[in-house]
């Protein structure tokens, strides 16, 4: 088990999500960077889909009464255990009664903590992911608080290995969205030429941007089903990138969509960060996805 001694900014139990319920009004959700959680799980000998904890900006202080093996991926939150510094990207054994203290990331925004055996909260609709807007999944449908005690599953054998980190600042690759024809050429040029900034209104539901407004001339739109990474444009013209827990339907025009291979990069964007978009072709998007999947196999250098 794990005792939460001090909660972080927003600690959410997450696995790889809850597919299959969009038609019930429930988004897929899951770790904002599925790859980062899957790799953390691999490092501690878990199945990739085991539940871990998604951490935001400042991590928690956790006690392991029976000990445990952990791994951290994503942003560096300067973890320490019993006075020692715990680097990201490899398994670390915490002795019985040991405490893991996480600090504040000075770069990036989210980190993932995997624990050997996985966090074994009761699955809801087939997943342990926390869905905050619906108050379901995870630990009692909410973020962790001091005093919470999380159950762990049985740990498997864990190999020794080190994970490399590849943090790209390139433009986010996009494809035309369903309502792109309703936008003027000037709006498309702005979307690909301008630098946007993440506003303070950014969370797992969506990231509102500022920097340039995009005018839509396509008229009234009925509700359509949308996906994470879709770039919606409300009447004020400031685009919103839909996030992992965003609504399953939306009534704003979608000018473009971030390719699946780049979606995880949104997880590290903070309010104030700059970002750019670059249109790619469908073939390029597919090739990028294949490259991302192929890179996972070699991401961990096993040392045993």
């Amino acid at each position: 088990m794990i005792d939460v001694v001090r909660a972080g900014r927003l600690d959410l139990v997450m696995d790889l999500g809850r597919p299959g319920f969009r038609a019930q009004g429930v988004p897929e959700g899951g770790a904002a960077d599925a790859t980062a959680l899957a790799l953390a799980n691999r490092l501690v000998g878990n199945a990739e889909g085991a539940a871990g904890i998604e951490l935001l900006l400042r991590g928690p202080r956790l006690r392991f009464p029976e000990g445990g093996t952990i791994a951290l991926t994503g942003a560096d939150m300067l973890a320490r255990c019993n006075g020692e510094s715990v680097a990201r990207g490899h398994a670390w054994a915490i002795p019985a009664g040991g405490e893991l203290e996480l600090g504040t990331a000075d770069k990036g925004l989210r980190a993932w903590l995997a624990v050997a055996g996985g966090i074994e909260t009761p699955p809801v609709m087939g997943s342990r992911s926390t869905f905050l807007p619906g108050g379901l999944g995870g630990w009692q449908g909410r973020a962790l608080r001091a005093g919470d005690r999380l159950p762990l599953g049985l740990a498997a054998h864990c190999r020794a290995g080190v994970l490399g980190f590849d943090e790209s600042d390139d433009a986010l690759r996009i494809l035309p969205g369903p309502q792109l024809p309703g936008f003027a050429d000037a709006a498309l040029k702005r979307l690909s030429d301008c630098a946007f900034r993440v506003s303070a209104d950014a969370n797992r539901l969506g990231l509102r941007l500022s920097g340039a407004t995009l005018d839509y001339a396509g008229g009234e739109l009925a509700s359509q089903a949308v996906l994470p990474g879709a770039i919606q444009v409300p009447p004020d013209g400031n685009p919103i990138i839909l996030g992992w827990d965003g609504p399953v339907t939306g009534g704003y025009p979608v000018i473009a969509g971030i390719i699946a291979a780049d979606l995880h990069r949104l997880a590290q964007l903070r309010p104030g960060d700059a970002l750019r978009f670059a249109f790619v072709t469908r073939d390029e998007a597919q090739a990028a996805w294949r490259r991302l999947q192929a890179s996972l196999d070699g991401a961990i250098a096993w040392t045993d």
Binding site: A23, G25, A222, A225, V226, A230, V248, T249, G257
Partner: protein, 207 residues
């Protein structure tokens, strides 16, 4: 009867294909659900559009285009998978008098009109278990309120944009409030979790 609606396909990121199917959206949803296409993760109906969500890295199934053609009209729904619901409503919503006035009715007339419709679940969205019910007469097609309310109680029956719906949970809302319906519309432990499913019919009963 075949309506031969023209369908158009467009991509939503590289994970989904939107198919504009107009009034045949539910028919297309049911047809594709029954087809069980490989590489398809989820089917999500909405207002005149169906989204086919693909498994990561998968190309759209080649049969998709043929299946989306020659759709039956909205009246030819297979009934086996759909259910009929009767939902009790206490018609005492804040906007009841205003909606009645805009429709040229008194409140009893509005309540009578709401209860005589056979409403059909077109799609779910906005909140877990929030069903968009179609089938309102045109005089009840009102735009959303200019200023949404920051909180609407759970169970609120409301209408806007040609639909009515019942909020399964409290939350912000921009629709016109007509009353409070019995709740229990979403239960994560149930299968399926939403009580109202696309294609189901609903009759409102004044409590």
């Amino acid at each position: 009867m075949v309506s031969r609606e023209t369908t158009a396909m467009r991509w939503m990121t590289d994970r989904g294909i939107c198919i504009a199917a107009g009034a045949s959206t539910l028919a297309l949803y049911q047809r594709l659900s029954a087809a069980g296409l490989p590489g398809v993760r989820e089917l999500v109906p909405a207002d005149g559009m169906l989204l086919v969500v693909l498994e990561p890295g998968r190309a759209p199934p080649p049969e998709l285009e043929a299946l989306a053609a020659d759709l039956p009209g909205p009246q030819v729904l297979p009934v086996a998978s759909t259910r009929q619901h009767r939902i009790k409503v206490r018609f005492a919503g804040e906007d009841l008098p205003e909606v009645a006035a805009r429709a040229g009715l008194d409140t009893d007339g509005l309540i009578g009109l709401m209860c005589e419709q056979t409403l059909r679940v077109q799609f779910l969205g906005f909140q877990p278990g929030f069903a968009y019910l179609g089938g309102l007469p045109p005089l009840l097609h009102l735009p959303r309120r200019a200023k949404p309310r920051t909180s609407v109680p759970a169970g609120s029956l409301a209408l806007a944009g040609g639909y009515c719906g019942i909020y399964p949970a409290a939350g912000p809302g921009g629709w016109h409030l007509l009353g409070i319906a019995e709740t229990g519309l979403f239960d994560p432990a149930a299968d399926p979790p939403a009580r109202l499913q696309p294609g189901d019919t609903v009759r409102l009963v004044a409590a």
